[in-house]
Amino acid sequence: MKLSGAEIVVETLIEQNVKTIFGYPGGTVLDIYDQLYKKSDRITHVLTAHEQGAAHAADGYARATGEIGVVLATSGPGATNLVTGIATAHLDSVPLLAITGNVANNLIGRDCFQEIDISGVTLPITKHNFIVHNVEDLADTIREAIKIAKSGRPGPVLVDIPKDIQLAKCEFSYKAPVTKDENECAPDEAVKEAARMIAESSRPYIYFGGGAVRAGAGALISELADKIDAVIGCSLMGLSELPTKLDRFLGMQGMHGHYASSKAMAKSDLIICIGVRFSDRSTGDAQKFSAGARKIHVDIDAAEIDKNVKVNLGVSCDISDFLRKLIDVVDYKRNPNWMNKVAKLREQEAEFKVENFLPEQAINVISDIVDDDTEIVTDVGQHQMWTAQFFDFKKKRTWISSGGLGTMGFGMGAAIGSSYGSGRRSVLVTGDGSFGMDLTELATAVTYNVPLTIVVMNNSVLGMVRQLQNLFYNKVYSNTTLDRKTDFVKLAEAFGAKGFRASNEEEFRNVFEEAYKLPGPAVIDLLIDKDELVLPMLKPGGTFDHLILDREDKA
């Protein structure tokens, strides 16, 4: 059948099992929107308040489901508004398809109204991007873009479609949904070498990150740890792949990681690194990072091996395949001394527990009340770290947070997207600063009655930056005190959502219980002291030997 380019865009997305897309219309995507209207019984379009929100929504959708997230925007400002969202997905390896309209081919290069070289702009922040010059290539380009985004190490792909291509017609026939490229299998020699290194070690530590989440490798990691008597820690990106309460799991390590997890990593003699990229937030000084330990690094991306941290054995292959084979060949062993040492670290960690610490109490309340499969989404700042530290994760893919780019303003879009992806309620924990960047998406949440509970940890400051000023800039709080007069309860009501306020644990429990039961969105303004700190803390560029543990510890 002969279809127009605009129709091909929509039919190809439907063919590829895309159920929901997020976007914002404009001149150069009018034809695609016309088709979306006509086919709205087969594909849902969610209109956000801002293209950045749409990009984060597509990202949140992808993180929650593991499927591709799709965002659509017009040329020029619509396209440039996607940039932060695309970069966020890029740094966290999220499969995202961004479709943009552009001016007609014969006008490209003439600085027309709303003409932007979005392919050039997004070159360094996409896995790949395409400009479609012939309508005959359109369907296959979209299919290929989805394949690229999902294969290997996932990432964002942009397809720029000039307006004339959307109008031109050509033959179209359906094809099967694309399958991912096969990942490389684990080479036997490397598996044997890893088993040898494990046999020689007496203090093994398994360290996993976002790659393990993408591969769903949690069960295998825990099986390996049981067999070789290792403890487990993860990066911020690895959270929720294993249940927080799992016996061998010490939780997140790194800049604001758990004491026992970071310390055990520093004291181990073998670190088995699964799907990580050794970000400076996880390692501190990469040169001195666990210098005493040998390291095995398994990642799907060959370019990650030896990039930031030199390892003794680096393998680029499918991590689940590697783990399966390794569990098969590795010898069962016990490391009682190591387990004792770790138990001591855990006792020490318990001693640092601060009483009546409202951020922790609030996250515990959320943990108590929410269903196991509720997605916990955050913005960026202290509230993000507290959530990462204290939330009791029980199910996979329930942690949705911008790790690599640390994008304030990620939360609202991502929470809406994740709720669409899972079909369930999401909880967003945000800060007063971050919420200021994305609260406009409250309009979207209300319009679509998205089941979303928003907790604003309102400390009147840009807390995370203030903390750095507190510790390293002599408490000179330059431009981090907000003290805005915004009333978040009234603001919620103005948007058509429910608004609540709480200032202690008990009040918070009551209002959260009520808010969580509502069918649609609600905002809880939770008042928090502006001088709370996220601890422990690894000084940027420092080593795990010198963690800042309490207020008196000076950097």
Binding site: S119, G120, L123, P124, K127, A302, A303, D306
Partner: protein, 167 residues
């Protein structure tokens, strides 16, 4: 670690924008590229990029694996010094005068260069060879007065019957 100069050949799709993708990656990742040439190959759908850069083994590994990740890059090969044939071409315009003419001609003979343009005031010379030979030739020309020059950067193939794609 000790720095070294490496020659790398990349087989890339012959499409617009591919060179930009490659150089943008180098720029973003902070690779120091010394020379880069690009041209057609035996198959019209591919171009071959030959580049030299200096770095250590780790830099080399990074550069190769990052190149391999680019969608339009089909194959990357490090051309080893032992079996690699490396050539550069130089066009150089030098001052010509009745006093220096003889010496210039001698240099042209020794380096197997060619005189491609000639006037009473200037000569344009063409010379091919490996980079050391080109460097030497330029040094030799300096006393005569170099008006302008242009070198292509290295192109390289490996000896033997195989191609980068067949390997």
């Amino acid at each position: 670690m000790n720095k070294q100069s490496y020659v790398i050949a990349a087989f890339v799709e012959n499409k617009s924008g591919v060179l930009m993708r490659v150089t943008s990656m180098f720029n973003r990742r902070g690779f120091n590229i010394d020379t880069l040439t690009v041209g057609e190959t035996e198959s019209p759908e591919y171009s071959r990029i030959t580049l030299t850069f200096s770095g250590d083994q780790d830099d080399l590994h990074q550069l190769v694996t990052q190149l391999q990740k680019l969608y339009n890059v089909k194959k990357v090969e490090v051309i080893s010094a032992e079996i690699g044939i490396r050539r550069e071409l130089l066009l150089i315009k030098v001052k010509n005068s009745s006093e220096t003419r003889g010496d210039l001609r001698d240099a042209v003979d020794v380096f197997k260069a060619k005189i491609v343009d000639y006037s009473a005031e200037a000569m344009c010379l063409e010379v091919t060879g490996d980079s050391t030979k080109i460097d030497n030739f330029i040094d030799n020309m300096k006393p005569f007065g170099i008006i302008e020059m242009c070198r292509t950067g290295i192109v390289a193939l490996e000896r033997g019957s195989e191609s980068i794609l067949s390997k």
